[in-house]
């Protein structure tokens, strides 16, 4: 199967400026050598703690950020350094849904203006056609066509996220990067939006990169799941394999930290001390082994930590401390 979108050894290092002349004194390695691919019609879940670089990776994939290294291929062509003019047609296929629907919709625009903007940018249809399209899109995401005349503040969080989704599917994209699409929503509304996203996927044949920190949500919508830590992928596998047979210590810790909504199954979570270290000057070797202060961490310094396949489609970072490989 040919991948729709793939990234290879992708790096996004932000310069850290300091000193009197604001020279760059260090670099923040938000994404540090990530390789993965997303196939047509597939959902890849991307999980990690805040600050691990998952949103940055998503933004690099749609070229909202220009990566400092590696390459991004979309549908067979290299878009890593593609010119704005050439990139525009690709952007039709590559859309994004943001976390906070309150902040990603312009409060001074009507819903009609917000959802028709993609058509204007890409010069599609005249005013009448656009209006008709907007009505159709709003109905597709479960709102009424009359919503086009209202403003974002007149809607609840869940409805606003539906508007964000309508805008993202306006141009019949093939791939949507969803950056924490349900994190800001209430439980009962969250399931409505997740259902909508799964319905749209089967109707329109969409591929998703689903970025989230809620592992139960990610498991539910994803075909495969990638676990990210400090700018690197630690483990990537089928969603069932990740949850039933996690190989990396970080994946295990993440899964055990999920509160289970069943009071009969109370258990002490496998304890994970400390916070994610700063991606400026990350530790050498296995970053997670370093956080755990694992006795075998020293052995991982200088080792080749490229992902290794341990089962069909199950890739994991080999290191003596976290995976015993």
């Amino acid at each position: 199967m040919k991948p729709l979108l793939s990234v290879e050894n992708l790096k996004m290092h932000f310069p850290v400026k300091g000193g009197v002349f604001l020279r760059s004194v260090a670099s923040c390695k938000a994404v540090d050598g990530v390789s993965l691919m997303i196939h047509e019609g597939e959902t890849l879940g991307l999980v990690g703690e805040s600050g691990c670089g998952k949103s940055t990776l998503g933004k690099c994939m749609v070229r909202l950020l220009e990566p400092t290294g590696g390459r991004v291929d979309y549908d067979g062509s290299d878009i890593t350094h593609m010119k704005r003019h050439d990139l525009l047609p690709k952007r039709r296929d590559l859309q994004m849904i943001f976390q906070d629907p309150a902040e990603s919709l312009n409060p001074r625009h009507t819903i009609g203006e917000i959802v028709s903007e993609p058509f204007i940018i890409h010069g599609i249809g005249d005013r009448q056609e656009r209006l008709a399209k907007v009505g159709e899109l709003l109905e597709k995401v479960g709102l009424s066509a009359s919503a086009a005349e209202k403003f974002p503040f007149e809607f609840s969080g869940g409805q606003r996220q539906r508007i964000g989704i309508a805008r993202a599917i306006a141009l019949n994209p093939k791939m949507i990067i969803c950056d924490e699409p349900v994190s800001a929503l209430d439980v009962s509304v969250q399931s409505q939006v997740l259902n909508l996203m799964m319905d749209l996927q089967s109707d329109l044949g969409l591929s998703y990169l689903f970025i989230a920190h809620d592992l139960a949500v990610v498991r539910h919508v994803s075909d495969r799941v990638a676990i990210m830590y400090l700018g690197k992928i630690m483990e990537i596998a089928d969603a069932d394999a990740i949850y039933e047979n996690p190989r990396h210590a970080y994946t295990k810790a993440l899964i055990s930290a999920i509160p289970i909504p069943d009071p009969t199954k109370r258990e002490d979570p496998r304890f994970l001390e400390g916070d994610v270290p700063s991606p400026i000057n990350p530790p050498e070797g296995c970053a997670f082994g370093h956080r755990m202060d694992h006795p075998k961490w020293k052995e991982s310094v200088g080792m080749d930590l490229a992902l290794r396949e341990v089962g069909p489609g199950h890739w994991v970072q080999p290191c003596p401390c976290c995976t015993n490989l």
Partner: protein, 341 residues
């Protein structure tokens, strides 16, 4: 007349509630008239126990907590009626002076967003030692010592260095630990935690919840945990109150609530969370529609606008009775939302 103290010795009466809230009503005066955010809420907490208050945004769970602390934004927010009995005191009628003594000393509170709850231009030490200076009348040097102790207790590494840092120098989890240190500094009898882990990662959430329950075991305080996460409720609470539209729709011990939910809203909430044992990529059961805004809430069964079963006129206009159906299990008995089998 001197009122006899109702709590001579907590060890003699361990099952007496520490906090008892009866028929609490809190409203806000807005440009469009008065909006009742908490509409007749009853609950109680005992020492050593954790009460969970769960509900979606706008259901009145935070306003309930702010009412107990008397931290409602004035003059718009007011307690309209009911009683809040804390130990031997009635807090609804308490003067501001009394509340200053109670807040921070006998009742501690943790807020959701440690970023905004801490003062960004004051060092950690000054903010933590404030409680000791205010309530324990310590001088600055002793308060500093006490602050280092409590920071160490909440698991902040090298507290003697951290105490001279500013909030922005700490991570989210560390900031929440500082909040907890401030709330627990005076060993309060009651800790109110309003969404203490919502802004944190799952791994840090687990650390913070463990910390709260460890400190509870050590100090014997009662905890009110406000959250929208049923997973957190299941892992930490003894009793649960489910709120919707400013009212309690169901209240039960945690095992009972998860095993035997009775109200349609509780059932809907429990069904709609994605679980690790559910089949992937299947349709999640949902609760239709959105929470109506408070001024559009029906006066009868508040859940009637979203329930699967159509309600008749009477149940939409008349408030359903709220009663106990088995020991400790209370339900709002709307004939459509509560159908015992």
């Amino acid at each position: 007349m001197i009122r006899p103290c109702r709590f001579p010795d907590p060890t003699l009466f361990p099952y007496m509630p520490l906090l008892e809230v009866t028929d609490l009503r809190t409203g806000f005066d807005t440009d469009y008239g008065r909006v009742v955010a908490v509409d007749g809420v009853d609950f109680s907490v005992e020492r050593n126990k954790t009460l969970g208050i769960v509900g979606e945004s706008g259901c009145g769970k935070s306003v309930t907590a702010l009412s107990v602390m008397q931290l409602l934004p004035r003059p718009a927010g007011n307690i309209l009626g009911g009683s809040i009995q804390f130990k031997d005191r009635e807090l609804v009628e308490a003067t501001p002076d009394v509340m200053v003594d109670v807040r921070g000393d006998e009742i501690g509170m943790i807020f959701q967003e440690p970023m905004t709850a801490l003062n960004p231009v004051q060092k950690i030490g000054r903010q933590v030692s404030e409680v000791f200076i205010l309530h324990k009348k310590m001088d600055k040097a002793t308060a500093r010592e006490a602050s280092i102790d409590i920071l160490e207790k909440v698991g902040i590494p090298s507290p003697e260095i951290r105490i001279d840092e500013y909030p922005h120098q700490l991570s989210g989890g560390m900031r929440q630990r500082v909040m907890i240190a401030m709330a627990l500094g005076c060993k309060p009898d009651l800790l109110i935690a309003d969404e203490p882990t919502t802004a944190l990662d799952v791994t840090v959430q687990a650390q913070i919840l463990k910390l709260i329950s460890d400190l509870q075991a050590e100090m014997g305080m009662a905890v009110i945990l406000i959250t929208h996460d049923l997973g957190v409720i299941a892992e930490t609470c003894d009793e649960v109150v489910v709120m919707y539209g400013g009212r309690i729709v169901e209240r039960a011990p945690v095992l009972e609530l998860f095993a035997n939910p009775q109200h349609a809203y509780t059932k809907g909430l429990l069904r709609s969370i994605p679980r690790l044992d559910r089949k992937r990529k299947t349709k999640l059961p949902t609760i239709e529609g959105n929470v109506p805004s408070l001024d559009k809430m029906p006066s009868g069964c508040r859940f009637s606008t979203r329930a699967d079963i159509e309600h008749d006129e009477a149940s939409i206009t008349n408030r359903p009775a709220y009663g106990e159906i088995s020991p400790g299990h209370w339900v709002e008995k709307c004939p459509y939302c509560y159908q015992p089998d």
